[in-house]
């Protein structure tokens, strides 16, 4: 009996030691660690190369605040949409407290590009009085749990928050030059399109990985993001880095795979919210 219990505890110890060795290897040689997994056609978290995670892994909280402002002189009928993503220290050990990191700034800018250029909220719908008063929408997102691919998750959160937003009815009075908002009448925002984003990464010019995790992200040479709207049409295609896997261009394949994924799992993601 005693021998059996020591042998089980010994095997438990050796399992722990193996796990520790694997973790050390992962920290010291991340690229080789990932290569070993990919040569077996699997990823460190057990997914297939083209498998997507559940939408709930990256937790992003998003809020929309509105204020009234004067429009730009040469765009008197357009309001403003100001998206911002914050990656605080709580979401991942790679972010330190302090001013926004490069990653947060880059993601904020990409989200700005997609949200405003794709017309999710047409800026003309934010006009209260041309040339005098327009709405400014501050869409602030904070990531609580970061595990790679914050762009997809944040876009989802921002569009969902905008869909949920209700603004008070505002009227501009010429005589007092003030805008008065009604306390009772709330109108939902006019939403143009509902985009969802699909991101891919190319590792070492040999493997195409869907939905990279925070471990895989720094090891990727190339990232590809495909944004699809609610009718299956493409809104935006972004590629950063050379898009060659084994000598062949994979951008078309990514777009096709993104459309497939959209059809099977993300088509009605905004209906549920």
């Amino acid at each position: 009996m005693a021998a059996a219990s020591t042998s089980t505890s010994a095997s438990a110890d050796s399992a722990e030691q193996d796990a520790l060795k694997a973790l050390t290897f992962q920290r010291l040689h991340p690229k080789t660690y990932l290569e070993r997994f990919l040569s077996e056609n699997v990823r460190p978290d057990g997914r297939d190369l083209d498998e997507w995670r559940n939408v709930s892994v990256n937790v992003v909280v998003c809020g929309v605040k509105a204020e009234v402002a004067e429009p730009e002189l040469d765009r008197p009928e357009e309001g403003f949409l100001v998206p911002n993503l914050d990656l605080p220290a709580i979401c991942s050990p790679k972010f330190k407290p302090g001013p926004p990191s490069d990653e947060a700034q880059v993601l904020s800018d990409r989200l700005n590009e997609v949200l405003v250029a794709s017309g999710v909220v047409p800026t003309t719908s934010l006009c209260i009085e041309p040339g005098k008063a327009v709405w400014v929408l501050y869409v602030d997102a904070t990531c609580i749990n970061y595990d790679g691919n914050a762009f997809d998750a944040t876009l989802l959160a921002m569009v969902a928050a905008l869909r949920n937003t209700r603004l008070p009815k505002a009227t501009y009075y010429e005589d007092t030059k003030r805008t008065i908002c009604s306390r009772k009448v709330m109108e939902p925002l006019q939403i143009g399109r509902l985009p969802t984003s699909f991101s891919y990464g190319i590792f070492d010019g040999t493997h195409l990985l869907a939905d990279p995790t925070s471990f895989e992200e720094p090891l990727l040479d190339t990232t590809i993001s495909v944004v699809i709207d609610e009718n299956g049409g493409l809104t935006s295609v972004m590629q950063l880095g050379l898009g060659l896997v084994g000598g062949a261009d994979v951008l078309d394949k990514c777009i096709g795979a993104a459309e497939e994924c959209w059809k099977t799992s993300r088509k009605n993601v905004y209906e549920a919210l």
Partner: protein, 289 residues
């Protein structure tokens, strides 16, 4: 109707670039510098490297690439920061950084023209529109050529594509190199950067002996939906434009030392005197010691 939509300023064709200008600035304190312009949309870029690196940024296996981007007016905001990150990735793949470990290669890019409208703050990409971004990428490439100190795997050439769509039912029209005046009419736009390199696998050499190229960056975003075919069309369209940029860069190497191109050779082939000293040449007789 469609002809009214595609009518471009000064009668440009949809696939016609504006006059490209490359000037090698010869700034004193940096290793290489150059100005690139699509017509009046110009950017200036300077390159220093390999130079000393701060210990915190030091990388034992390759040179650290540091990119700083400045708009024409106002301080650099998140859009400039994002552009710097993009340029870092695009150029890191086109340079042999592993040849100079524990050093720094610093790129500083400056826009030489702003947008006509607004302050550029708070609206998407109003400060850095697609054409200005393309001119910045090209200016950086040409600055690397002028420096000659960082070995290059390939030459990065970028062009901008604009999309015009009269109404959702008609097919969209793509135009190359949209200028400032055309931006408000555009339904979508994007910058396409291609790395030209003889070592890339793929399609055979084209007729003009331009080497093969691969897409290394794009941010094509539109207000109306598009499909894969349109994206492919945009890509091929941009590729042709990028080839023209490459040919211009190759031509510019002949005035690399003189900093300015020889006075324009017009269609009447009036060849101007090439011997007139440029601003950089010093007339030894007149220098006082």
């Amino acid at each position: 109707m469609s002809s009214a939509l595609t009518a471009r300023p000064r009668g440009r064709q949809p696939d016609q670039l504006r006059d490209l200008s490359i000037v090698y600035e010869g700034l004193d304190r940096v290793d290489g510098s150059a100005r690139f312009g699509f017509g009046s949309t110009k950017s200036l870029s300077s390159v220093s490297g390999p130079i000393e690196v701060r210990p915190t940024l030091e990388n034992p296996s390759q040179a650290t690439l540091d990119v700083q981007i400045r708009p024409l007016a106002a301080i650099a905001g998140t859009d400039s920061k994002a552009l710097a990150t993009i340029l870092k990735t695009v150029f890191a793949s086109s340079l042999f950084l592993s040849h100079h470990p524990r050093t720094l290669v610093q790129i500083v890019g400056q826009a030489l023209c702003g947008t006509e409208s607004g302050s550029g703050l708070g609206s998407a990409g109003r400060g850095w529109n697609a054409t200005l971004t393309a001119s910045l990428v090209n200016a950086t490439t040409v600055a690397f050529l002028s420096a000659g100190s960082v070995p290059m795997r390939g030459v990065v050439c970028a062009v901008a594509i604009g999309r015009l769509q009269a109404d959702p039912s008609s097919s969209p029209i793509l135009i190359l190199d949209p200028e400032e005046a055309e931006l408000p009419r555009l339904d979508g736009s994007g910058c396409f950067a291609f790395t030209f390199s003889a070592v890339l696998p793929g399609s055979p050499l084209s007729a003009e002996n331009v080497p093969r190229c691969a897409l290394s960056w794009t941010n094509y975003t539109t207000a109306g939906p598009f499909d894969v075919q349109e994206f492919k069309r945009a890509c091929d369209f941009a590729k042709k434009g990028a080839m023209e940029v490459w040919l211009k860069m190759k031509e510019s190497v002949c005035w690399l030392e003189k900093s300015a191109p020889p006075p324009r050779i017009r269609a009447e082939s009036k060849v101007e005197d090439d011997e007139t000293p440029g601003e950089m040449e010093v007339d030894d007789d007149k220098v006082e010691i």
